[in-house]
Symmetry: C2
Subunit: 238 residues, 2 copies
DNA sequence: TCATCATAACTTGTTGCCAAGCTAGTGAAT
DNA sequence: ATTCACTAGCTTGGCAACAAGTTATGATGA
């Protein structure tokens, strides 16, 4: 069994943080101080700190030191539910804001096309909305819809805020959905930049669809990317 | 905007991996090779590789090189459901195995005690089972029960494989549960050792309870820790 | 007394150098 | 021809030395 001092130090630091040893913006012991305390080379302590920073616990200032970051607001979120994201948030009393950040045609993607039940010749558009609380991005909501079902989506897409409202405008009134799929991954550089998060924040990815109840027609494939440090999630007990 | 070459290289490597550029056990370009290609110091490439290793994508051999790891089997798991874990797995046809790895008295923990609705003087025991597929640990299932409800738990705890069976033995027959709570975190050193996983595998943590339907008595507080690289999760659409 | 500057002693940030491990090739000894 | 030991050249692993930024202190001079 190889014991890794870097991870040991990281464990210890995280434990101290969750136990509340440090105040927000309080300075941590310096790299040299800890390397002497643990009797390990400075680089080991340094690497532990770097990881801690990428996990979003701390920030650092060259020449000064490392400090505890203000922790993210934890939002209780009910996963699943036909209720729209906006409804969930405003109902729960958060200073919620949603921003349409673009509508673009995607290149052929077998999985998405198959879920939408359209042919490769069809055009599919991705409408992205950024979900924010207190001006901070917390989730990225992407809806994929086919032009064959919504002929004007190319023009309409970039001004939509509620997809449900758009579907109603287009004559669809009752909706249902299949099971949601949930997975976890790390942010790509693009996602990091959009969600303004460091690299070691795991993302919770929920994929689902929206089906017109009347005709069993798939209207949309949905992919929501949540910052895992911003939420605690609830799953109904059936 | 500060662009970080380490993360840029990491992004690129991950993308190449998911796109299938490398076969399992195929060797990656060496640190020196990539540092020349990107025209950055070797340490940057090295750090990207180290992170890739901690994420479980690759393994390295000193003197030889870095190689693509065999990817984890992805198990489709239905979150929630009164169905026991064992049932879910065997039903889905996996070579599933469960190992009781101990029963121990826990020190007072306000949240757990409050969920179990017992007083601080009461004794609470944690029964841990390791869930494995093909001999590889994939989840750690911990059940917390009070001695006041199960007087013999201290003796029985370390031989139990099914809690439901134990409850029935003790005269409880119908069960229900509250909403499940879901969160994500990184493994502690202990969890890494039990689950045999590297440090940057996010863990999916599902907390729930088990309530005797007849008397509305809380029998157990449950905490299941899943390796996020071993599962894809499904959530019912209600 | 007060303002200014140089400096020393800390902090974090960067990277080059050497160690350790593996392998294939070389050539001497059998 | 075969075996063995050595070596050169690659690989990853580890870390010390240096760079850059900040701050407090104290000497200097108006």
């Amino acid at each position: 069994m190889k014991l890794d001092v870097e991870l040991m130090i990281l464990d210890e630091l995280i434990q101290e943080i969750v136990q509340g040893k440090y105040q927000v913006n309080e300075q941590f012991p310096s790299e040299n101080e800890l390397s002497q305390k643990y009797n390990v080379p400075r680089i080991k302590v340094r690497n532990a700190f770097l990881k801690l920073e990428e996990m979003g616990y701390i920030y650092s200032q060259q020449g000064k030191g490392r400090y505890l970051k203000d922790k993210q607001l934890k939002i209780k979120l009910h996963l699943t539910g036909a209720q729209s994201f906006t409804e969930k948030m405003t109902e729960a009393g958060y200073a919620f804001e949603s921003k349409n950040i673009g509508c673009e045609k995607i290149t052929y993607h077998p999985r998405i096309y198959s879920i939408l039940q359209v042919s490769p010749e069809d055009e599919v558009f991705k409408i992205s909305r950024l979900r924010m609380i207190d001006g901070k991005p917390i989730a990225l909501h992407s809806s994929f819809v086919a032009k064959s079902i919504f002929p004007n989506i190319e023009q309409d897409g970039s001004r939509l805020s509620s997809m449900f409202a758009y579907y109603r405008e287009n004559g669809w009134t009752e909706f249902t959905s299949s099971d949601s799929h949930l997975s976890i991954s790390f942010p790509t550089s693009e996602e990091r930049s959009i969600l303004q998060c460091p690299s070691l924040i795991p993302l919770l990815i929920v994929e689902s669809d929206c089906i017109a109840a009347s005709q069993h027609k798939v209207l949309e494939y949905t992919k929501i990317i949540y910052r895992s440090d911003s939420f605690t999630y609830k799953i109904p007990s059936e």
